[in-house]
């Protein structure tokens, strides 16, 4: 099969007169791959997730499941798509019906699918809890009786109950403590190896992207700024916005970046959308919007990308010109 599992092709999304996402294209291949969508609040990343789940209709462009546009899917294919692509959202407690027990929440997903006989549901639910590292004794609890980390595991267990091939993870750990986040990331890595499922990870935190995703897309105000292999775009960002995101990740012993760079200025009428926050803006950036271009194995929308990568390459010395810099 050559068509990607899920693909967005020049998708434009809008709420009323406000365009949130503009001509965005991205593909998620079949298999245990990780694709990341990175951006700040308001960048349109959750709207893209909703479009990929078929919950909002694109203003222009198409979302396709195995090569076929969502509106053209027949009943059977639609069911397959709904089963194959499962969402996991940020707030575990909002995704779970507060009046149902854990057993009912997960059991419902299993029986709706029609593949599990009622008599065996209880045992299957217990197994699915154990698969996400929860005690089967939690089956009789309701969501408010669980911790944030436990709830997020229940959401995962329910998504996994229908044997999906792709999980759309929208900020799956940002409401959690770092220690709990670390354990959930371990679990996601382990589940991918065991079940061969793929992930689309949506987040503003670059630090968790590297662990799960081999490909990353950086989104700013609904437009892709840079996309390519995670390792190379994070180590040698060609776009100043990627560099800003990377340098903002808190790390032990590194001083925070100086204030001022996220000045809240309304969107640029013309030119590069990032111009007001860009540390290396030039005249051309104000006049002309940079097109997405292919440079050094990635896609970048910046007038100065070649210059930036060239300078880094020279600084790295001639020997390892195109190799990853040793860090």
């Amino acid at each position: 099969m050559t068509a990607p599992l899920l693909q967005a092709d020049a998708v434009t999304l809008a709420y009323g007169r406000v365009t949130v996402v503009e001509e965005l294209s991205l593909a998620i291949p079949d298999g245990p791959h990780g694709v990341a969508l990175i951006g700040e609040s308001g960048s349109g990343k959750t709207t893209i997730a909703r479009a990929l789940l078929g919950l909002v209709q694109p203003r222009a462009g198409t979302v396709a499941y195995r090569g076929r546009a969502l509106p053209s899917l027949g009943r059977g294919d639609m069911r397959a798509y709904r089963r194959t692509v499962q969402p996991v959202f940020q707030q575990g407690n909002q995704a779970l019906n507060p009046r149902m027990t854990v057993a009912a929440l997960i059991g419902e997903a299993m029986t709706l699918d029609g593949k599990v006989r009622r008599a065996t549901v209880a045992e299957r639910v217990a197994q699915s809890l154990e698969a996400v590292g929860l005690d089967r004794a939690l089956m009789s609890r309701k969501p408010h009786q669980l911790s944030g980390g436990q709830r997020q595991r229940v959401v995962l267990a329910r998504a996994l109950a229908v044997d999906p091939q792709l999980l759309i993870l929208d900020e799956p750990t940002s409401a959690l403590d770092v220690t709990v986040q670390s354990r959930i990331l371990d679990l996601l890595q382990q589940l991918r190896e065991e079940r061969g499922i793929g992930y689309l990870l949506i987040t503003h935190n670059l630090a968790i992207v590297e662990r799960l995703c081999s490909v990353a897309h950086v989104l700013f105000e609904g437009k892709i700024m840079e996309a390519g292999p995670t390792a190379s775009i994070l180590r040698r960002p060609a776009h100043p916005y990627t560099a800003l995101l990377r340098d903002s990740v808190p790390s032990v012993g590194r001083a925070p970046r100086q204030a001022g760079a996220s000045a809240n200025v309304s969107a640029a009428a013309q030119g590069c959308p990032f111009q007001h926050r860009c540390p290396s803006v030039v005249e051309l950036c104000r006049a002309e919007r940079p097109p997405l271009q292919q440079i050094a194995g990635r896609t970048v929308a910046c007038h100065r990308a070649e210059e930036v990568l060239g300078a880094e390459r020279r600084a790295a010395g001639s020997a390892g010109a195109l190799a990853e810099p040793a860090e």
Partner: protein
């Protein structure tokens, strides 16, 4: 008021809810211009300790015992009037999501005016203080014409800090001040706090679940677990040579990045 007393001095603090201890803090001192961070997971008792230090234990249905002094004033024995004066003018609280504590029906300018008036600062003095504080946190004055829902989370957090500065706070007590923000904005708020500490000799008492966030800000880090202190070390030492396994676990939980 004793002027040379430390901003925060705590001894043998025990916070309990219905006779169950939820947080205990044997000793804590925040000196002038210093930054101390309480770090731990949800449920470790760090926020309870923080609220108790501000004399707010009763507001969460808890009881505080021990000795707490804010700028030399005995928090557990002070009158509510005395406490209000300290909390407004010298020790300011910055919440995780400040938008929740800003009246949605008032413009920020009116909010600032009212906060200052409550503490007896009015007229030209109030305006001058507000202007200076806004520039101190790098917010344009036009923001004062906006309503709370018209500003971003980062701007709201800056405004909360500006209010504290306008009132003349010498100590900022903040509970997870950046965990609801984007990483880029978080980094700016941390840089702002660091700068205020250096330029205004501001003292900071922070609570966070993320060691990386407080690592560059704090001189001393107090690690809490299940209501008790498991380690209290100078920040520089804690990262190099953690005294207990739990601290090591917290350090390891910080996502490794770019290495």
């Amino acid at each position: 008021m004793v002027s040379d007393a430390h901003p925060v001095e705590v001894e043998q603090l025990v916070v309990s809810v219905r006779d169950r201890c939820v947080s205990s803090l044997p000793e804590l001192v925040v000196e002038r211009g210093a930054c101390v961070a309480l770090v731990g997971e949800s449920g470790s008792g760090k926020s309870s300790a923080l609220l108790a230090i501000l004399g707010l234990a009763a507001s969460m249905g808890a009881r505080a015992e021990g000795r707490i002094r804010l700028f030399g004033v005995d928090v557990l024995r002070a009158s509510s009037r005395e406490l209000r004066r300290i909390r407004g003018l010298r020790a300011a609280f910055v919440a995780q999501t400040p938008q929740g504590s800003l009246n949605p029906t008032m413009r920020l300018g009116a909010l600032a005016k009212r906060s200052l008036a409550l503490h007896g600062i009015a007229g030209a003095d109030a305006e001058a203080r507000t202007r200076e504080a806004m520039s101190g946190v790098l917010l344009p004055l036009q923001i004062l014409d906006r309503y709370p829902h018209q500003i971003s989370g980062g701007q709201a957090q800056r405004f909360a800090i500006a209010l504290a500065l306008a009132l003349g706070a010498e100590l900022i007590v903040a509970d997870e001040p950046t965990s609801a923000l984007d990483v880029t904005v978080q980094s700016e708020i941390l840089a702002l706090l660091l700068r205020l500490r250096e330029t205004k000799q501001l003292s900071l008492l922070l609570v966070s679940h993320d060691l990386a966030v407080v690592s560059t800000l704090a001189d001393r880090i107090v690690v809490m677990k299940e209501g008790a202190v498991v380690e209290s070390s100078p920040a520089a030492e804690l990262f190099v040579n953690p005294a207990c396994d739990y601290t090591r676990e917290l350090i390891d939980a910080v996502p490794a990045f770019g290495t």
